[in-house]
Amino acid sequence: MGGAGRDGAGPDAAGKEQARLQARADENELIREAQGGSRVAFDSLVRQYEHQVLRLALHLTGSEHDAEDIYQEAFLKAFRYIGNFRFECSFYTWIYRIVTNLCLDQLRRKKTRREDHAVVLDHSGDEIDLLASVSDNRSFSNPARELDRKQLGEKIQAALVKLTPRERMVFELKHYQGLRLRTIGEMLNTTEETAKNTLFRATKKLRGQLAELR
């Protein structure tokens, strides 16, 4: 069973910690400049986080178009409210908090409209074959495996849709994005314990949904 990480020891860990603190200091300087109105500084901050934001939004929504919308809204909000950032948490947590709230709103809207995206859609609404970007011709020589993989993906997606938006978000952040429960709690404005309980409920529901596939 996995456990909490062991404490680092030796010069490597100290070096890493120093590098982390230096990076944080550099980032704080960028944030202060952006708060002062520097567009260049804000653009640098965007570059640092845009991939994570898009990756999360794309996987949650299954749509490039929706992921773009979330990216747009998140960074516009960040630009508008960066003056309110108080350095009480990391900028990473702050920006993710904005993104997760937007994603939660999106999930709630989809739940109301019952929109299910079993596959990833590009910006014009056409389906993206997840393996098309992989330079491996085996995917085209085995259509049956292609179909199985696609159907399995659809079933997983259908099971995820049955979670509440909050459960889906916690599961997404933990399982797919690999964040720690404490960080997830901060992002969702709750405690680590609550995030843990939500994860437990989500996995229990998913196990029930996916039992027939095993």
Binding site: G3, E50, G153, L181, R214
Partner: protein
């Protein structure tokens, strides 16, 4: 340990969040409880199944499109007035001081003291000044508007940006420095580098589809006619228009202009492949297939044609793709 607690710790442990001592305790429980061992197996199986929905890394096109859209939105935001910037800086300073209570208190006391003294001095000076200048002000105010119209004030139009604001202390006079757009015209040949540079800028003109349509059409015609499209970024401008322009007619012209380069330039080929996969207009997708036919032996082209032939919503496009694929022998 009770099984209910064990079930919770199984989940926490499976995701690497269990402290070592609790992990050890759980291991001891699992060694004795078959039911909980099965629970763990089921959870691990669920994790494997969940991984069947992979996390897709955002492609460069998605990132580029998103950035472009964000840049446009940020550019369109109105610039903050100088007083809004001052207020925001004050708010930031206040917020920063919230984290330093003692410093905040000292600063507050010092600020109150300085402000009180300064206010007293200012009030005294203002009273003295008002007593000395009141008769003159009454007359100065009246002609002021007349003076303003009589003087050669520049016409405020086509303002590009405000570069500076200076207020003369103790007065209502403000000096504003601004940059002005100056409409100009230039005549020249399509081969003229300056004309080409302006046409390429026009392809990015986000406000007028007509201007973009004209510029892309002219540049595309130059390329099709075999005039030099190597340097000066004309080909790049056409590829950007094909990928990102919102107007289908503009994208279609860009596609036509890139036709001569599909065989020789891999970047152009990739841009056309993306149009085939992603463009919302079926005419553009059909035209892309026709452009790709001379290079259908290319593996990437075949992969995309295969994907389109099986999954495109438009039956005509699926049919056309299949026909192109069927004309070339199977590549081993």
């Amino acid at each position: 340990m009770k099984c209910e607690l064990a079930h919770e710790r199984i989940v926490t442990g499976a995701y690497g969040e269990l402290p070592d001592d609790q992990a050890h305790e759980l291991d001891r429980h699992l060694a004795e409880c078959a039911g909980c061992r099965q629970e763990r197996e089921q959870l691990l199986a669920m994790k494997v199944l969940a991984d069947a929905l992979p996390v897709v890394e955002p492609g460069p096109n998605l990132v580029a499109r998103s950035r472009l859209r964000l840049d446009e939105a940020l550019d369109a935001l109105p610039a903050m007035h100088w007083y809004e910037r001052v207020v925001q800086r004050l708010m930031n300073s206040v917020a920063g001081l919230q984290a330093a209570p003692l410093a905040a208190c000292l600063l507050l006391v010092a600020g109150l003291g300085a402000g009180g003294l300064g206010g007293f001095e200012f009030a005294q000076n203002r009273a003295a000044h008002a007593a000395a200048t009141t008769p003159a002000l009454a007359t100065a105010k009246v002609p002021a508007p007349a003076q303003a119209t009589a003087a050669a004030q520049p016409e405020i139009a086509n303002v590009a940006s405000i570069s500076g604001i200076v207020r003369q202390p103790g007065t209502e006079m403000v000096e504003v420095s601004y940059n002005q757009l100056v409409p100009r015209k230039i005549n020249g040949s399509l081969d003229d580098p300056e004309i080409r540079q302006l046409l390429m800028l026009a392809t990015e003109n986000s406000s007028s589809a007509g201007v973009r349509d004209d510029s892309v059409g002219l540049l595309a015609a130059e390329c099709r006619a075999g005039h030099s499209c190597q340097g000066a970024g004309i080909r790049d401008a056409l590829m950007v228009a094909l990928r990102y322009d919102r107007n289908a007619a503009v994208r279609e012209k860009a596609l036509e202009g890139l036709e001569p380069y599909v065989s020789q330039d891999v970047r152009v080929r990739n841009a056309v492949l993306e149009a085939l996969l992603n463009d919302s207009d079926p005419r553009i997708r059909t035209e892309s297939i026709n452009l790709l036919e001379p290079v259908e032996a290319d593996t990437s082209v075949r992969q995309v044609l295969y994907s389109v032939s099986t999954s495109d919503d438009n039956p005509q496009i699926r049919n056309t793709s299949r026909q192109v694929l069927s004309r070339v022998p199977e590549i081993q």
